[in-house]
């Protein structure tokens, strides 16, 4: 099945996005911003819907909109006003409603099988794959090179500031990375896959072990394995790829709970 070109692209794209999301997801959980990542996923979905509605490149629209909203969130947080659960909830509801309305009034979206929730990773094009790979590489690469700075700022912000680390700058880089990844992955992978990749494999990693580096490695491995297995299962049983992968993520997380208790 992976001899087909579209399956090879789907496997490559899915693995890259899932691995990058799992890596960032560990920090999403530590920073307690899971709900923010759902809201950003919904913002990206709205970007895709706007792109379709106006006949623009939905890939680029999702990226731009998510980046702008990420900057707004960061600015609010940086001014110590806090995101506020209510503000994040408002953005989530607004974007969810707006994207459904735009898709409902857009025959083109229906004709092209646009599914904002499940996505359709099997349809990913080579240029999209190339852009996704480059952005993911930049995001994860910067996270690995500056890992000790990101860990220090995430673990204890005041202590990091007392060391003279520019915590606001590292926060900005983190949120922009998160926004860029979500924004670019949404068009091809769908809200469910992107959000689940940010949360479930990192949870599996953190449940399986209480070691900071090992939990990150496990999260990435779980994500890549579940994408490969999920695509194979969806091919064999004619199931939608995104939800199948998420089901496997959940199974892996349950296994991680059991492994962690031993």
């Amino acid at each position: 099945m992976f001899g087909e070109a579209f399956m090879q692209r789907a496997l490559t794209a899915g693995s890259i996005i899932a691995a990058a999301c799992a890596y960032l997801g560990i920090f999403v959980i530590w920073r307690r911003i899971v709900f923010l990542s759902v809201a950003l996923s919904e913002v990206a979905a709205l970007g895709v819907a706007i792109g379709f509605f106006f006949g623009q490149t939905s890939f680029l629209m999702a990226f731009l909109l998510t980046t702008v909203v990420t900057l707004i969130f960061w600015q609010l947080w940086h001014q110590q006003r806090g995101f506020g659960e209510a503000a994040v909830g408002f953005i989530y509801a607004l974007c969810a409603a707006a994207s459904v309305l735009l898709v409902a009034k857009n025959p083109l979206a229906e004709a092209r099988g646009l599914d904002l929730v499940s996505g359709n990773i099997l349809y990913i094009s080579t240029p999209e794959l190339l852009v996704l790979s480059l952005v993911s590489l930049a995001v994860v690469g910067s996270q690995i090179v500056f890992r000790k700075e990101f860990v220090a700022v995430t673990f204890d912000r005041d202590f990091a500031l007392s060391l003279g680390l520019p915590a606001g700058f590292w926060d900005l880089i983190f949120y922009l990375s998160l926004g860029a990844l979500i924004g670019l992955a949404m068009r091809s992978c769908g809200l469910l896959f992107v959000f689940a990749s940010l949360v479930i494999p990192p949870m599996a990693g953190l449940w399986a072990t209480r070691r900071i580096h090992l939990s990150t490695l496990i999260a990435v491995l779980v994500a890549v394995f579940c994408v490969s297995a999920g695509l194979a299962v969806s091919w064999r049983f004619d199931l939608p790829a995104g939800p199948t992968i998420v089901a496997l993520y959940s199974l892996a997380a349950l296994l991680a709970v059991l492994a962690g208790r031993r």
Binding site: K148, A160, L161, S162, L163, R210
Partner: protein, 244 residues
């Protein structure tokens, strides 16, 4: 000798709301200060200003630019969800010194191991922080603060939630380390009885917003009763002053 930290009629706070007003204070090298006041009176806010995290709303704050600070946070401010070992937490102190985007050096690891040993937690370096007792956690945070190789050690409520023995051990460790390394110490606490025998100078922060700077030899029951707004009795005991 010149002061290393000077507050001149400083107002501090968050947003435009001042928490501390009219603070004037000079801290000289090697001094041991105790900032005493009830919860919410602005003790931690002053520490953040000393660290440069919080700029003054009003007035002038001078900090010697050559100073290195060691900040020992309140234990409750430290994230326990993080699966970090004791060594990993202490190494965070070397994040800036190791260099941007560079891994920790052998020198960084050596300093951290030395500080962990100094604080009596060297044998716990592979343990998870979340698995330690309150006293052990406090020692780890103290070791992390010392691993920055500071000239000024800032301690925020280091004895809160510790029993009497644990509190004494921590304060004794601070006193010994100060003596050994020649540190300037600022200790924040809401528990006067625990720190009255440690500090040489006190800043009392009153619930009403009043501030009072007092040296140890000026302390007496009447003055303390006035600044703490409750009746205080002092008694000279074998091991120092008793407060009740």
């Amino acid at each position: 000798m010149n002061p290393i930290i000077v507050f001149e009629n400083v107002a501090l706070g968050y947003g435009s709301q001042p928490v501390v007003k009219g603070l004037s204070l000079k801290i000289y090298p090697g001094q041991y200060w105790g900032f005493i006041g009830p919860n919410g009176s602005g003790k931690t806010t002053i520490l953040k200003a000393i660290l440069g995290i919080l700029p003054p709303l009003k007035g002038h704050l001078y900090r010697d630019s050559r100073l290195a600070f060691g900040y020992c946070q309140q234990r409750k401010a430290v994230e326990e969800l993080f699966p970090c070992t004791v060594r990993e937490i202490a190494l965070m102190a070397r994040t800036r010194l190791a260099g941007l985007g560079r891994p920790f050096r052998h020198e960084d690891r050596a300093v951290v191991e030395k500080c962990l040993r100094l604080c009596g937690v060297g044998h716990l370096s592979e343990k998870l922080f979340s698995e330690l007792s309150g006293g052990q956690k406090q020692r780890v945070l103290l070791a992390r603060a010392l691993a920055t190789e500071p000239q000024v050690l800032l301690l925020d409520e280091p004895t809160t939630d510790l029993d009497l023995k644990g509190s004494r051990e921590i304060l004794q460790l601070v006193a010994e380390t100060r003596k050994q390394l020649g540190l300037t110490v600022v200790l924040v606490s809401h528990e006067l009885p625990k720190v009255i025998n440690e500090a040489e100078y006190f800043l009392f922060l009153q619930r009403t917003g009043g501030l009072r700077v007092v040296s140890k030899d000026q302390l007496n029951a009447a003055l303390l009763s006035q600044v703490l707004e409750t009746e205080i009795f002092l008694k000279n005991g074998k091991n120092g002053i008793l407060v009740y």
